[in-house]
Symmetry: none
Subunit: 253 residues, 2 copies
Amino acid sequence: MLAFERKIQIVEFLRKHRVASVSQLSKEFNVHETTIRRDLAELEKEGFLHRTHGGVVVDQWFNSEPSFSERANEQLDEKKRIGKKAAEMIEDGDHIILDSGTTTIHIARNLVNRSNITVVTNDINIAAELRNAKGIRVIVTGGLLYHESFMLNGMITDQVLESLHVRKAFIATPAIHPQYGLTHPEAELVPTKQGMIRVAKEIFVVTDHTKIGKVSLHTVAPIDQLHHLITGSEAPESQIQQFKQADLNVVTV
Amino acid sequence: MLAFERKIQIVEFLRKHRVASVSQLSKEFNVHETTIRRDLAELEKEGFLHRTHGGVVVDQWFNSEPSFSERANEQLDEKKRIGKKAAEMIEDGDHIILDSGTTTIHIARNLVNRSNITVVTNDINIAAELRNAKGIRVIVTGGLLYHESFMLNGMITDQVLESLHVRKAFIATPAIHPQYGLTHPEAELVPTKQGMIRVAKEIFVVTDHTKIGKVSLHTVAPIDQLHHLITGSEAPESQIQQFKQADLNVVTV
DNA sequence: GCAGAATGCTCGCTTTTGAGCGGAAAATAC
DNA sequence: GTATTTTCCGCTCAAAAGCGAGCATTCTGC
């Protein structure tokens, strides 16, 4: 058997079994364990799988949990600060929208001990954070569950949003630009974010500084539909100024 | 077994059993207790679970409050059997509704490895159970979050239900009677259950035997709107007969 | 036969596991 | 309540399993 062929078959084998040990694969293909290790090292480098001591697991399995929590941990400290600041801008009696995201969840955490606030969200993790917050009314938008991120999206989500009216919406974004405004790489998530912006009087964009100045394929909202931008103090002053000139209230923490 | 694999399976084991002791896990995986302790220490650090003296419990929000889990543990074995049986009555390709409840969640658990099934639910715990089930499309109805039970209810829930059409609905109930049909003590939960019954072609009532023959204040549905009753074999034969005479297909497990 | 690649082998090194022991925490007795 | 017993935990050390790196061997195409 060709080395190349064997590597393909290893991936195939993993797709079926999800895990395999080096010795198991060695027997399966009748080659020395060293050879398997070499194959696995290369396959891992190419991103097909993830090695562990004694064997290997399919990358997606390995990724299923960590991918989200890892992502959540990038700029963790900054996101915590943003969450705290954003929560301070919410008043008792407010009805707000919290968009799904790893920054917005920190807003929710800062609301746990508040009272008389209604939170509308499409993020199950945010609902979970608020599950013991007796003073918070939580309305979940409903919709199709995205397994990876625990977010709800789709037609139902949009329909529910249409029937609501809230004071403030806190929108998460992977890209905001002083000219192109709010953009997003995934088309299917755009209508929901647009719906949130439409039904809220005041729009807060919350995002860590690495997203500032970026542009993605699909436009969610032009800059003049947004009112506040809360981000980390790591953001360069020059960019902040551009947003301020676009009439955005920029808050850095 | 690989160390990594074992750790994943420990989490999996916990998702099923909610709690486990070190010695129990040690036997389950045929490793020394020290090894389990090490695994648990790491998993706890990674935030997957919470250790206690002598064992471990899942640390995630979908593991609910004591009051809820205690309730869930009543007739636990019977509910497991009902869940398994109900899942067998769901076919690939089906679109179904799973009502919020401690019995219906066992149906969800039996669907995890199935594929091509669409599940509509108003229970966040059920959504959580199915979050890693790649073959299941999960649609959450949305609505006001009930903090204690992690259920969604209210106007939004009803509106969403109105726009759906499914094949089978699995309804949980605290009271079913051969003459008075499905009744419920809490008025505000009635419209949602009625909505579920209205939009589904085939209605399955799933409940443990202690609820049979009981009557509550508010009528949810007369007996002739229901089609199947799945309950434990603990239910007395005389009562079963009465339901059968009311033209209900009674399944005992 | 020869060059280059793939494979197998050996040897220290690292990671994981199992066992023992002192101390902490729960359970039980008083 | 307190004291005693039992169970469980964390720590350390040693054995076992697995690993990477370098080198020898085999295979392949010229």
